[in-house]
């Protein structure tokens, strides 16, 4: 991607992360070349209460690796270890 490229991302929060972010869904515009790990760091800076949580990230409804690159239009879910059952 070029220097001027931007990505539009949708970020979803659930349970404890929704409480920490004070939001369930945000839209984010950012420069290109963003990894999952980097996004998590940026979000934690934006919402410091997230730093107390061990975050898991899903991209487009699939669990994502920390090193995965994000793409324009990706739907990102940020949550803690699941506790259903």
């Amino acid at each position: 991607m070029g220097l001027l490229s931007v990505m539009n991302l949708k970020i979803l929060f659930f349970g404890a992360t929704a409480d920490a972010a004070g939001s369930r869904e945000i839209e984010l515009q950012t420069g290109g070349n963003l990894t999952v790990e980097r996004l998590a760091r940026d979000l934690t800076r934006e919402y410091p209460a997230l730093s107390k949580l061990k975050l898991l990230i899903a991209v487009n409804e699939e669990y994502a690796e920390a090193e995965s690159d994000l793409s324009d239009g990706d739907k990102i879910a940020v949550f803690t270890a699941v506790s259903g059952g």
């Binding site: 659930f14 349970g15 409804e61 879910a77 270890a81 699941v82 506790s83 259903g84 059952g85």
Partner: protein, 154 residues
């Protein structure tokens, strides 16, 4: 059942619902004519919870379950596919409840029908373990004096 979602292929199903879950109907829906038994795991809202940190027993007033719904259904179907590859079983039904649950109400039912009992037990046990590890659903325990989102083991 605002959050209910169903996708069906063969007699398998994975659903989320905000209404009460009837164990009998889940167990019956997975039954093919050649099988003689189903094994069913049902989890329900516990009245007493042990605090993992302090070991203290707390009285829970009610539970609230929340899910990343489309991904949760996808992940449940993945478990169904994986279980059917690993175990000699016929059909699997999984229903997880969302929203507010009173103590004693059923939160999850997993029913496995199989020609033979042994793989049905093994598959059901495997699915509940994996569901608690991978399916994006979260539980909030609400007490008289507060509430906490339970964090899973992994």
């Amino acid at each position: 059942m605002a959050f209910a979602q169903t996708t069906e292929h063969s007699l398998d199903f994975a659903e989320l619902t905000t209404g009460p879950i009837d164990i009998t109907s889940v167990a019956r829906r997975v039954v093919p004519p050649t099988c003689g038994a189903t094994v069913t795991l049902d989890g329900y809202a516990r009245g007493l919870t042990k605090d993992k940190a302090t070991g203290e027993i707390r009285k829970t007033d009610h539970l609230v379950y929340e899910a990343y719904e489309p991904m949760a259904v996808k992940e449940m179907y993945k478990l169904i596919e994986q279980a059917k590859q690993q175990f000699e079983i016929a059909n699997i039904g999984i229903v997880h409840r969302l929203g507010k649950l009173e103590i004693g109400e059923t939160s999850v039912v997993i029913s496995v029908a199989a020609p033979h009992r042994k793989p049905a037990f093994a598959a059901c046990e495997w699915i509940i373990r994996e569901l608690k590890r991978t399916v994006p659903i979260w539980k909030k325990e609400v007490y008289a004096d507060g509430e906490v989102w339970v964090e899973g083991a992994e």
